[in-house]
Amino acid sequence: MVGKKSLGLMIMLAVLVYAVAAGAAGFPERNLQGIIMWGAGGGTDGVSRAITPNVEPILGKEIVMVNKPGGTGAIATQFVHSSASDGYTLLFGAENPQLYGVLELSKLSYNDFYPVNILARGQVVIIANNDTPWKSLKELVADAQKRPGKIKMGSTGPGGVPYVVGMLMKTVTGFDVAPVPFDGDGPGITALLGGHVDFIPVNLGAASEHIRAGRVRPLAVVDSKELVGNGYTVPPITQDFPEFGKYVPWGPFFGVWCKNDVPDEAKKVLVEAFKKGAATDRFKDFVASKEAVLMNISGDEADKYLKKWQSVTTWLLQDAGATKVSPADLGIPRP
């Protein structure tokens, strides 16, 4: 009896030891799943699909990519959060979850996830239709104050890049323009080119070729440094309005997350793989062609960046009166 029992115990122990050893050495044992929070063809989709082929050879497994758009990414975020905490389901996303709380879209934010890698951040430029008279942001703001509500600004729904920068401009300059929301950067620029809106703040990646072709006029970059592009320069937003200084550089970011309670071994493997993948020339070239800034940060450094971004942006929206829940109620400190 005793013999049988101890044999059973030994087998169990052996299985356990094996399992632990395998868990430590073997991640990943099977293919991973990557959930992209925006639809095919968008900015997040592009970055996600550009990084994975560089990471797969390092992991030795494939990452099967799935688009799960909807609710500005809230559905994908929820999905990854309710999946198993084994590190096999990754969230490929943009900055949006940091605003879910104040916009009352979801209770989740990146605080509930572990940043495997923040790959890149985008730069934002304010561009105007060529038929408008403004040569600088100052002239635009002066004109807007002269005829309030008459100038049309291309925007997006709450939380989008043009929306947030529009709010930022409103907070700092106090101008009054008519925002017309479109589905994103692409449709917004299309409306600008057609003259259906007068100006729009957008991702540089979406606008740079139009600036280079001279089809739109850049007024300012949302940064404290001048933007030197391919054959053009754009003055910093702080040149005309130094008050923007405490908010800039502001822009969207893209990255990869896993659940907070994924085993540390798996986190380590993922972090290393994405760190190497993001350092490949192929990915660097991709980021450069999108006019974005390579970040390639993870762990605490990424956490700090995320917290700062959330604090700056949520309080900015709060001050502009665009939130449903105050960031103070969510425990987000004022910057």
């Binding site: 688009n67 879209l105 729904g157 299309t190």
Partner: protein, 504 residues
């Protein structure tokens, strides 16, 4: 310069591997397109990762093939099973399926293949000779013009109502309401979500389409499960020149509609084919049979238009770097990954890419017609399969296809619910097509109207003035008004008044 353009145009033709990849892509595309739920958008985005390490030309050759084949492939399942394989072939099922029920599935596929080819080539010709002009024209469309286009599409409810206009209007309104479910993209407010995060994404219209067409049709056919399937006549599947020439004018007109709607950044093949169907129904005085009962004109119109929309969608992509539809949005991403910069400078920096893609499209279109015309006999026999076997297969296919859209079980539940509701609606004489029309066009109408009114500082008077002030908008407004008035009792009286004043 011209020499290199020609050499790039024929590059995919002369390079064996590119030729082969285009062929493979087109062949695969036809089957991806035929399976509802498996979309071309999805296939092309998977191909981005798959072709990551390839040469850009090879990657594009494969993707272009899938695009062309996929748009065409959707008609197969629409004709044979009454399940549109893609939203762009919804209108195809209106007359395509009745044709199959009459035993003319082979002929229907044959003629739809030929007109798809005609549409495709017309789209490419417009792309090659007038891309910059058409792109500038497309930019002129303001939110108010999209509103008018959506209205024009919605007026199609009148033609699709079946026995009762009131029931058609009800179905259309139901569709518009369903289209509103989910997060309002302008205010980030949940509409009809009842607090569920899974409803924030809204109801994908393909989900509704598969349920309302596929499952409800399968359930409906249970009534006649013991009826012997119609014997298919597969003797004359490739249409004769005489037939092609007879339908050429309508095919060309609808192709033109397809190119323009395809080139508009806010609309794609689905709306193009519906508008083309509507156009055919209004302009063809003596169709081969009444529309909705197997009129060839009703099959030709949407099939010409949706393939012409492919060339149309390329126009803003290649000239401005703006996607013309969902698939070209993914193409733009692929071009970036391969180190190209789609945008207004692409035609200047890398003009050869333009000619390579045009040449590749021509090749893919040729393969599409070739592959389309082979194997029709086997496909047509699909309709002859015993219903006891066919119906479960349709339901399984519908579930798998629905799950594949967003990998979501919520979608599958919605789809099944749509199937049962669609069946009940059919039992009581309601048509399901207006519901889909509402789901597709409702959000476009809603958002365009709100954009238009926001552009006029919420001033309704100014908005009405806008509708007649701009020449393009004015034309569209007149068309919409004509479409409405010409269907009322007022119209004959007006005509009478006009002719009597002329006489006096």
């Amino acid at each position: 310069m011209t020499g290199s353009a020609i050499s790039y145009f024929f590059m995919a033709w002369t390079d064996m591997s590119l030729l082969f990849l285009t062929a493979i892509g087109t062949f695969a595309g036809i089957y991806i397109g035929a399976i509802p739920g498996l979309s071309v958008t999805m296939a092309v985005s998977i191909l981005i990762s798959f072709t990551f390490s390839w040469d850009v030309n090879a990657a594009l050759a494969l993707m272009v093939g899938v695009f062309c084949g996929g748009v065409y492939g959707g008609s197969r399942s629409a004709i044979l099973l009454n399940i549109p394989g893609a939203p762009a072939s919804i209108a195809t099922s209106f007359d395509g399926f009745p044709l199959a029920q009459r035993g003319e599935a082979g002929q229907a596929i044959g003629i739809s293949t030929i007109v798809s080819g005609i549409g495709g080539f017309l789209g490419i010709i417009v792309l090659a000779v007038a891309a910059p002009t058409v792109a500038e024209f497309a930019l002129k469309f303001a939110p108010r013009d999209y509103l008018l286009l959506a209205l024009m599409g919605l007026l199609l409810v009148g033609s699709l109502s079946g026995e009762s206009m009131a029931k058609g209007v009800f179905a259309g309104a139901l569709g518009v309401t369903l289209g509103m479910v989910g997060m309002d993209p302008m205010t980030a407010e949940g509409r009809f979500t009842f607090g569920y995060v899974s409803l924030l994404g809204g109801i994908h219209f393909v989900v509704a389409m598969i349920g309302l067409f596929g499952v409800s049709e399968a359930l409906f056919q249970l009534h006649s499960i013991n009826l012997k399937p119609v014997k298919q006549d597969v003797s004359k599947i490739v249409p004769s020149w005489k037939v092609i020439l007879k339908y050429l004018p309508i095919s060309l007109r609808c192709s033109l509609i397809g190119v323009i709607i395809g080139a508009l950044p806010g609309t794609g093949g689905d709306i193009a084919s519906l508008m083309a169907y509507d156009h055919a129904k209004r302009t063809v005085k003596n169709p081969s049979r009444p529309f909705g009962q197997g009129a060839y004109e009703g099959l030709i119109a949407p099939e010409s238009a949706n393939n012409a929309a492919v060339g149309g969608a390329y126009i803003p992509m290649l000239t401005l770097g703006i996607p013309g539809d969902a698939v070209t949005a993914v193409f733009i991403g692929a071009l970036y990954i391969h180190g190209l910069k789609p945008g207004p400078m692409m035609m200047i920096d890398t003009p050869y890419m333009f000619w390579f893609m045009v040449g590749n499209l021509v090749l893919a279109n040729t393969f599409m017609v070739l592959f389309g015309l082979t194997g029709i006999k086997i496909f047509a026999r699909l309709v002859e399969v015993k219903k006891g076997i066919l119906i479960p297969c349709i339901i399984v296919l519908s579930i798998v296809g629905t799950y594949a859209i967003n990998n979501s079980m919520t979608d599958v539940y919605w789809m099944l619910c749509f199937g049962v509701c669609g069946y009940l609606l059919k039992m009581f004489g309601y048509q399901v097509a207006p519901i889909i029309l509402g789901i597709i066009l409702g959000p476009l109408m809603d958002q365009s109207y709100r954009r238009a009114i926001m552009s006029t500082e919420h001033n309704f008077g100014l908005f009405l003035l806008d509708l007649v002030k701009n020449p393009l908008t004015c034309v569209l407004t007149i068309v919409v008004l004509f479409m409405i008035i010409s269907n009322t009792r007022l119209w004959p009286k007006l005509l009478g008044m006009f002719s009597s004043t002329k006489r006096s």
